[in-house]
Every structure is written in structure tokens, then in C-alpha cells.
Symmetry: C2
Subunit: 425 residues, 2 copies
């Protein structure tokens, strides 16, 4: 038996949970913590509202005493306050790597790569899914669902399997076989929809009205999105409780970028770090650049585009948090830019060649945008910078196949090896 979303609220006032309600990002109307995401007054998105006094109970020491995963920040999150009830595959606490060789190649002083490919299903989606499914279980749901073209699908299926929850994942029918396989293997319900991602998404919204399931990026989205804050907290903690002067974040829906900014703001406000200034830069593919285009136009609104880029995990043509991302970039003194598919492939190779990190196409977007921002003088090479690699290259091999062959193909003999000039330089 599942609880209807409108009746499912968190069991009882939980003193350990700093989240107290949902509030409308536009009109400020408040709602109980429940599986709902849109304001009935003005139709704007809802977000989690916290009790400031409860947030202030969190200290550096309490965080450092926590587990080596995102749940070390549970005191700043809206779910998971009973450890045994968390849905967790140990997402988070991924490496922040010093990128000296990449910095040298780009003429930068101090550069770090926050490498979220180290998550259990190898993308940052594991963070948001872990928080969303934990909230879903606390709210009494037994089935979790989502629409996805890849990373989210695998993460939801994996986390649901580990927790014994039923999963229903909807994907476009023409997905690459590899992405289908890496989701189907977990044994949940995987539904291929004869249509494109927009069709899948629309059907998902319809289903959310029919079934009493937790839709991770629909009715439990306010919980889900908060998981991204941990990508801000971790960077600050890993730098020794400091906020970097510049960060470059890829933009799909725009949620991740806004949550990194929110995290830095919270840490400063709560006295966990010195509230030093920072600039947030956004990275998009030229083939799906609605936020970068709005930034370039000086517009406050984002005009939808039809995506056509190899960076499929960033292919959201009508990004829900686009206007908020614009606001963050402008308010902090950052910028939002975009790069071509050829530049994305170059970015993937540059990161791999200099740092031994094989990023997803989204990682290639970020590295290539970093280079472009430097070339355009928008990003200061002498200010400490962190870039986010949000997924693993093994998930997006296709764009590299045509150009990623061996140095040489030879018969199995020493003389052939030497004749091909493969010996010492």
C-alpha cells in the first residue's frame, strides 16, 4: 500500500531534520513537507525551507565526524536523519583533484577538478537520487519513477534495487543499447517510449497524476534538488573550509549551478567558512545553449531550443532553473558560455591527457568552456578555480569512436614495432 502524495507528509516533527516546510520560490506560500513540487497559488516551483536555528547546530566537527559520503552533510539536508533508513550506495565525498598539469597547459595558477565520476553509478545524479529516494521512503512510497536518457535512469534503478524499492524508469525507445543494458540489469521496470525525451517527460507528468509513486524529478523534486548542494559543501570542506574564487559548472536544467551557489551561501551564513566572494561560471554545449544564449543577449528569460549536441546529459532545451542560473552568474560576477561539439571532444581529451581523468561529454563541455572563458578574459587565471566533472567517460564513448583509434596497427614483431617509429623518442 502506498500513501497518496497529497496525504504523505513526513511522519512527525523530527528535531534532527532542519527542513520544516516547502515554500514557493515566487510567492513564498508554504506547504507541509510532502511529495509536491508546484505552488497551487502561482504555479511556481517549490523548494525546501529550513529552520535556521536547526541549521546552526551543524559544526565543522559534526560534519567531519560523519561518514565518507554525502550524508556527512545530513544536518543541512531535508531527509535521511535516521541513518538506517537512508537509501545509500555511498554517493558523494568524491575526490577534489589538484590539476597542476592542466593548469600549466592553460596558463592558470591553481586549478582543481571535482571528480564526480567516482560516484557509485559514475555520475553526480547519485547524490540527488540518494536524497530523493530516502525522502520517498520516509514519505511512505514503495515505488519510485523517473524519465531519463541515461545517468538518472541508471542511478534510480541501482538505488531502488539496493533498497528493495520498485522502480519504473521511462526512456526514449531509441536509446543506445549500452544505456538500456546498464539500467535494465538492476531488474526494475524499464519502459521504452516510442517518442523523444519530451514525449517521455510528458507521459511521466501524466503518470504522476495517476499513480501514488515518487517521481524523483517531479513530485519529490524539491528533495531531489537539495542533494546537489553537497557538491558545494564538499569542495569547501576539501579545500580546508574555504570557498574557491571561481567555479565552472555545467548547465542542463540549471539546478546544479544554483545549488552550488546556495551551498556556498549557506556555509558562509552559518559561519562554517569565511564568506569570501566567488564567481560562478556556467558551461553549455552550443548545440543546446538556451542559458548561454540568454546570458549573451542580456535577457532575464530563457528561450527554449531544440537540442542537437553530443552532450546528451546536458540536452535540456527548456531548462527549469535557467533563469535562476542566469541570476547566479550575474550576481556573483561570473558568466555563461558555450562550446561546439568539436571543442567538447578536445576538452575530454585535454582532461584525460593531462590529469588521467576520463570525463563524460558534460566534463568535456566544462573543460572546453574553462578554456574559452580564459581566452575571452572572463575568468582570471590567477584566481583559484574549481571545475566540476559530473560523469564518467565510459558512459559516453560514442563521440570518441570515430577519432579515438590506436597510434599504429602492426604485425606482432619487433622489427615492425621499430619500423613504425614506436621506440624511444
Amino acid at each position: 500500500m502506498t500513501l497518496a502524495p497529497e496525504r504523505a507528509t513526513l511522519p512527525s516533527p523530527d528535531a534532527a531534520n532542519p527542513a520544516v516546510s516547502l515554500s514557493c520560490r515566487h510567492c513564498g506560500a508554504t506547504y507541509p513537507l510532502s511529495a509536491t513540487h508546484v505552488c497551487v497559488e502561482c504555479f511556481a516551483p517549490l523548494e525546501i525551507a529550513y529552520d535556521e536555528d536547526r541549521l546552526r547546530k551543524v559544526t565543522r566537527a559534526s560534519i567531519e565526524a560523519g561518514p565518507s559520503n554525502l550524508w556527512r552533510y545530513v544536518g543541512l539536508l531535508p531527509a535521511g536523519h535516521v541513518a538506517e533508513r537512508r537509501v545509500s550506495l555511498d554517493a558523494g565525498w568524491t575526490p577534489l583533484r589538484p590539476a597542476q598539469r592542466l593548469a600549466a597547459e592553460l596558463g592558470m595558477r591553481t586549478l582543481w577538478v571535482k571528480d564526480d565520476s567516482a560516484n557509485p553509478t559514475h555520475s553526480f545524479k547519485d547524490r540527488v537520487v540518494s536524497v530523493a529516494l530516502t525522502a520517498a521512503r520516509e514519505l511512505g512510497f514503495h515505488t519510485v519513477a523517473c524519465a531519463s536518457t541515461g545517468n538518472l535512469a541508471q542511478s534510480v534503478a541501482a538505488h531502488a534495487a539496493s533498497a528493495g524499492l520498485r522502480s519504473v524508469v521511462l526512456v526514449p525507445h531509441d536509446l543506445e543499447a549500452g544505456k538500456t543494458v546498464s539500467t535494465a540489469v538492476y531488474g526494475g521496470t524499464l519502459v521504452a517510449i516510442k517518442g523523444n525525451y519530451d514525449d517521455v517527460n510528458r507521459l511521466c507528468s501524466e503518470l504522476a497524476g495517476e499513480y501514488e509513486w515518487a517521481f524523483v524529478n517531479v513530485n519529490v523534486r524539491p528533495f531531489y534538488a537539495e542533494g546537489s548542494k553537497t557538491l558545494g559543501y564538499e569542495v569547501a570542506e576539501q579545500l580546508g573550509w574555504r570557498i574557491p574564487g571561481q567555479v565552472v559548472v555545467p548547465i542542463a536544467s540549471g539546478s546544479l549551478l544554483t545549488k552550488v551557489d546556495k551551498a556556498f551561501g549557506e556555509l558562509g551564513r552559518l559561519g562554517l567558512v569565511e564568506p569570501t566572494p566567488y564567481k560562478v561560471f556556467g558551461a553549455q554545449a552550443a548545440g543546446c545553449n538556451p542559458v548561454a544564449a540568454a546570458y549573451a543577449r542580456g535577457a532575464d528569460t530563457v528561450a527554449p531550443v531544440k537540442p542537437s549536441t553530443i552532450a546528451k546529459s546536458l540536452s535540456i532545451g527548456n531548462p527549469a532553473d535557467g533563469p535562476y542560473a542566469l541570476d547566479v552568474a550575474r550576481r556573483t560576477g561570473g558568466a555563461i558560455t558555450d562550446v561546439t561539439d568539436d571543442e567538447i571532444v578536445d576538452g575530454i581529451r585535454l582532461l584525460a591527457r593531462t590529469e588521467g581523468i576520463f570525463g563524460e561529454t558534460a566534463g568535456g563541455v566544462t573543460v572546453a568552456c574553462l578554456r574559452r572563458l580564459l581566452n575571452e578574459g572572463l575568468l582570471d587565471p590567477d584566481v583559484e578555480t574549481v571545475i566540476y566533472n559530473t560523469g564518467d567517460g565510459l558512459k559516453t564513448l560514442d563521440p570518441l569512436v570515430s577519432t579515438g583509434g590506436p597510434t599504429a596497427t602492426i604485425p606482432p614483431s619487433l622489427s615492425a614495432f621499430e619500423a613504425a617509429g614506436l621506440g624511444d623518442d
Copy 2:
């Protein structure tokens, strides 16, 4: 300029390094710590010899104060004693996951999965490569090389790139495009050899005689192999400094299994754990089962086979450490078994469905062998057991493609969804 392997020895007696020499596993002849792997007296393999007093300086506290990667065990390793000179992408300190749902399905009391897919290039090879390349750099090499069919290739290319070392990786020319891409992306020299893996390996040995390069699985193999000990140390530490009663380890060359046993033995001897008894079980694919077959025959020697299995990362027909693995299984009261390709696919699915862990084919071998050992009464379901998942399923998608499709394919409508019986159970 590189140093000739026979002249390259570790710079000076280093009091922090517990390794003091290489010694022959057969006749006991000793050699200086250098890039050599075969005894000139009797042609048996060499291994690292340690100063027992130096090993005894290692304490639980000194380990626990170390980094969250394999280098926390540097006091028990033959290289890497100057942190700044390590070649490291943070391999190791991977999760030991409680596998309650898998245990319940198999009727076991306490089961853990040591999940080495969490390593930087998503296989346990990152451990041995990090140690091998660190030793190579300490020995003065500037070029590192290997023969591989996949996991080792990616790991060597990635680690070399991060350290600015030149890499030369040799692979069979008919490797899957995905494996070529995920190695070539790091920008090293990747040579496709027109021949099978045996041809590649033979050429690699010839090259080792010609070039002053560190061949990770040839002339620096004694250092390389020691990296696998960390898979034993970590399990014991993660259990709260205890040795589990039973472990199941996949067998390719047999080196990993023998090093896990060596690690447990060292920890007990050095007083870091109670030296409690344990049984070591080996897992092979029926299509490449030379060690399991020798075990079944009661033989001390291993007859080579021609591999034919989907478990490519375990496809070594003539395993160098096969006899040593046999010895460990027999001495500890374990066993070695094998499973068919169909059972391997079932094993992959079982692990994913119950625990949300998507293992490589090698992981499927281990899970399927666990089930077989239970069915045959060789492994006790009531004794605490650890199984090793040595790689990530994203690396071996092919065997799942034919059987890993969606639950249903439907048009984008609510009525189609309901008609397909996809709603609530």
C-alpha cells in the same frame, strides 16, 4: 634518458621502505630492488622481500592516520615512501558493502561485497598500476609499458598521463572499439597488434629486452603484484581489524588470490589483527578454468587451456600464479570452482538486482561461484563471507546486450502504459 633495468636500483637505502631486496620464490636467491622479475639461477619468479623489523613499525593508528587510498598501507609496500613522488589517482579504500539482500537470497548469514569498481578507472588494476608506476618512477624510468586486453590498458594510460610519464600500451587489434577509445583518450602510445593476446604478450617480452622501459607486468611485476595485498588489508581494516572466515576471489593469473592470502597472513603475524583461521575460495569461468580444473583433478600443476568465455578479464589460459593459488585454497581449506557463461550473466544480474552493484563479467563469475560453492556445501552459509567485485559492468556491456532489453516498448500514452500492465502490482 632512462636507466637500463639492470642498473636501475632504488636510489639509496631508505629507512621508510620496508622492502629490502627481491628474492626468488623457488630457490631463495636474493637480488637488489630493481626492475627484474626472474631468478637467473632457476628462472622462477622473484618477489619482494621485507625487513620484518620495519614492517613491525606499522600500527593500526599509523594506518588509520593515512590517506583514504591504498597508500595508507605504504608501510607494508615496496614503493611510494615519499608521498610527493607517488603516481596516484587515489586508487583503493573502496567500499566494503554489507550485502544483506544478496545474503538473504542465497540463505547466508553475513555477506559483504568488496566493491573495487569504485577505483578511478573502475577496476582493481588501478591498485597494482599505482604501485608499479610509483616504483618505475623511483627506479628512474620515464616510459611505462604493458600488454593488455582492457582494464590494465586503461589504468596504465590514465596513471601515466596524470604523472607525465610516457605510456606504450599493446593490445590485440580486434579489441572492442570501446576499450580502444577508453585507453586512447589519455593520449599515450596505443599499439594494435595483428594477433591474439598471446602474440601481444610475446612481443611485449621481446620489447622488454630491447627498451629501457618499465613493463608493468614484466620487469616491475614484483612491485606491481604487491599492490594487490591492499585488497586484503582493506577488508580486514573495514571489518574493524578482523579477518573474515571466508573470501571468494576471482582468478586470472592467480596473483590477486595469493596476495589477499599474503595480506591476511601479514596482518596476523604483525599483530595488527587476531590471526583467526580463514578459507580462500577461487572463482573461474568454465571457458577458462585451468586452476579450477587442476583443483578438481587434485593436481599440483596447471595445464594451460585456450580461453573461450565472456569473462575476458579472467582469460589467462596459462596463469603464472596458478600453482600458488591452488596451494592457498588447499592450505586454508577453501576450494576453486568454475561457472558457465550463462551462470556468469545470471551472477551479474543477481548482484545488480539485490545490491544495486553492476559488476564486470569477473564480478559475475565471483557471485555465480559463490552460489555454486554454497550449493555444493563447500562454503558455509553461516560463516562471515567477503566476495570481491574487481571491475565495473560499464566495461563489459556486450554479454548483456542480447538479453538486457526493456520490460516493454509502448507509445507515449497513459492508456498504452496501463494496457501494458505497468501500473501498480
